[in-house]
Amino acid sequence: MAGVVEPDDRRRAAVRRAHDLPPAHAFADIDAFLAAPRFCRTVFVCTPDHAHYRICKAVARAGYDVLLEKPVAHNIAETLALLEIEHATETRIVVAHVLRYTPFFTKVRELVQGGALGRVLHVKLTECIGQWHFAHSYVRGNWRRTDTSGPIILTKSSHDLDILAWLLDAEATWVSSEGSLVYFNEAHAPVGATERCVACPHRETCLYSATRFYLNDRHEWPYNVIAPIDDTPAARAHALETGPYGRCVYHNDNDVCDTEITWIRFASGATANFSLQAHTAENTRRITIWCEGGAISGDLRENALTVTRLGPGIDSTAERLDLGAPVDSHGGGDIRMLHALHDYFAHGIQTDQISSLDRSVASHLLAFLAEESRRSGGVRIPMVRARPTSS
């Protein structure tokens, strides 16, 4: 940790204290950082989504290597523009597609690419967001509106589209998508529900009551998000009275889909069926990859895979692979990404996982095209070329 750029004074001071940073390495905005003498090699861009492109562009042009949180940008033109910058400079831009680094998906790719089950025919990937997580992030939180953040297929599922393209190591030929906001809307509000939970007659019984959900003494995500600096009971209560996390999930300004399905066809002939679902019990991802000779299936959170081999008769064999203890929703990918990233930036070691921009851009293109398809009634959209054609 060398420095921090953060506009909020209290947050910036807290990071500086926690990591013992000199005052000269703490900045209130990115321009001040760029104007200051250089003191580090890498910048992690972890801002709200709308600033990703602008900041990444600025720091990459200044010659820093970048770890860029998803989404990399908000449209195809910006995404390709970042790719141009990466190609035109010595800068390395890596996208924080942390799922690639999980033991779970690492193993899946190893099995797929190892070819023991033959060619991939079809993949079904389901993102079970979990109803409380969806309410937190996509009804009340930062990613609830397409105009202020982006469509959920980009802000949430670029992970999944990335995993699909990476696992198959194949170019997509077309994508189509269907989805809508089925549930978190006015039509499902209980009678008499108020705009904020604190005054609502249903706050003791509603599944999405913010007072029940947030007013506790747990300090992990997502509870700690609502009063991020002084996480006291009083601060949380105040946040529910005034902030976004105290709003009714039915009377809100959210518009991103809570149900969406996306179909992709790859040049290999394989097809993928991705489903994003808000109303699930678990917060996990489930995958099944059907191959010529069998299937690989598993649950990220359980951290376990089953490899099925088709037999010549009606019986098949199944082998379970336990990949370790159950994990968080990023499947242990965050820490492994940092290790791989260090090896890449410091020693130039490019593992199979490294989500460099040129190896990540397909997911974003797929997301933009999926959204275009969804808005056009599910028509198939041909994949666009990932690489810029002009110099």
């Binding site: 989805g179 089925v182 549930y183 679902q277 109303h279 019990a281 010549p312 098949s316 599910g378």
Partner: protein, 438 residues
């Protein structure tokens, strides 16, 4: 108990003989076997011998049966798909009730025409969508529609055909060519579209589909593979070797299908030397999809998805129903059904197992349940809401034909008209009512 219902089996094959006649002969269903119509003399005689049917009630052709004095209450139509419609129409016009194997017909026009036949003949036509009767799907629907968990928000149904089952029925068997029977989304998956519509219980608004024959084609043939397994150099190693698969002593389906009358090892060997079940799965004339997905929306924006997959290990169906307050998840073959109740807290779930009994066949015990409920329906008018009447089954076929149209047209939504509108376009709704728009 009311008097027995006398059954005429039309088509003494795998379904007519080995499933329905066998159940009637061995279980207390209320039905009794009265007559058989079967063109193949060997099959017909074997059937009469097995079930004690006298010669005067064994017919080689349906016309002979129709010309004979009435000899039953209900006809079970278990013939190949292309003649379902004409036979159902003919026996209806003679006043028989009908249990009609799916598909109802191989075209939408014929499917709709049977509705008019039923109305004119005042008989009862019941479609053998047997999965609705399986205790598993009965439980899924009862729970999903109980209101205890709020409205249904999403349903995902996966049909795992099983690789050997697919090779048997849809690469080598009767349902391998859309032109000879119908597209697989109708011949196989009308079951599933029927279940989706029946579980959700709202009118469908649009349907969209894609799929193809990805694997069982010449591109995947091993080098040197021959047209028939018996002289193929790969017959001892190929996953789909007919010699390895069929030449055994198992009297079960699907093995008994290859030589249905005289079923010795020598008969089986001879069948795969000459018959359809001995052909190479990669060098055949099959054309139905080995994978297909369907998306359909119901009123109130409820999105449902269906996936048909050939390359699965298991031969089963799996379902996920997402509701306002719970997630229901299950596997038909394993007879496993769970409800995860949402608690409003992170990482706290109450998971309930729904007891269903031991694992079962691929129809989930639905064949027997169908007979039991059908008998009570025919004799006492029970189960009106659950029975697979023609009227309540037509929607699944409308969905299947539209899904196929969407697939062939390279995807995209097709509006689902109501049945009344299909019969008479004057019943079309005002323009603009095409379901949710994003």
């Amino acid at each position: 108990m009311p008097s027995p219902q006398r059954v005429v089996i039309v088509g003494a094959g795998a379904r007519g003989n080995k499933v329905f006649a066998n159940l009637i002969a061995t279980m207390q269903t209320g039905f009794e076997l009265a007559a058989v119509v079967e063109p193949d003399a060997e099959r017909r005689e074997a059937f009469c011998q097995a079930y004690g049917i006298p010669a005067e009630r064994a017919f080689a052709h349906v016309d002979a049966f129709l010309a004979a004095p009435r000899c039953g209450d209900i006809a079970f139509i278990c013939t190949p798909d292309p003649v379902h419609f004409t036979l159902c129409k003919a026996v209806s016009e003679k006043g028989y009730d009908v249990l009609l194997e799916k598909p109802i017909a191989t075209s939408l026009a014929d499917t709709l025409a049977l509705l008019a036949v039923e109305r004119a003949c005042h008989n009862r036509i019941i479609v053998a969508h047997v999965l609705r009767y399986a205790p598993f799907f009965q439980a899924v629907r009862r729970l999903a529609r109980s209101g205890d968990y709020g409205p249904i928000l999403h349903v995902d149904l996966r049909e795992h055909v099983g690789h050997w089952h697919f090779a048997h029925s849809y690469v080598r068997g009767n349902w391998r060519r859309a032109g000879d029977s119908a597209p697989i989304i109708l011949t196989k998956s009308s079951h599933d579209l029927d279940l989706l519509a029946w579980i959700v219980g709202k009118p469908p608004t649009w349907v969209s589909s894609y799929g193809s024959l990805l694997y069982f084609n010449t591109a995947h043939a091993p080098e040197g593979a021959t047209d028939r397994c018996v002289d193929c150099p790969h017959q001892d190693t190929c996953l789909y070797s007919a010699t390895r698969f069929y030449v055994n002593e198992s009297p079960q389906w699907p093995f008994h299908v290859v030589s249905p009358v005289h079923d010795s090892m020598a008969d089986r060997r001879k069948s795969i030397e000459t018959g359809p079940y001995g052909r190479c799965v990669y060098r055949n004339d099959n054309d139905v999809c080995d994978h297909q997905v369907v998306a359909l929306e119901f009123a109130d924006g409820v999105l449902a998805t269906f996936g048909l997959h050939a390359h699965t290990a298991d031969n089963t169906r799996k379902i996920t129903v997402l509701l306002e307050k719970a997630e229901i998840e299950g596997d038909l073959r394993q007879q496993r059904l769970t409800i995860s109740h949402f608690t409003g807290e992170k990482d706290v779930l109450r998971i309930e197992e729904v007891p269903l009994g031991p694992p079962t066949d691929s129809h989930g015990g639905g064949d027997l349940q169908l007979l039991l409920m059908l008998y009570e329906h025919l004799t006492e008018g029970k189960h009106r809401e659950l029975i697979t009447s023609l009227e309540s089954s037509v929607t699944s076929h409308v969905l299947a034909f539209l899904a196929e149209d969407s697939r062939v047209a390279n995807g995209g939504r097709l509006r689902v008209p109501e049945v009344a509108e299909l019969i008479d376009p004057a019943n079309a709704p005002p323009a603009g009512r095409t379901g949710s728009t994003p």
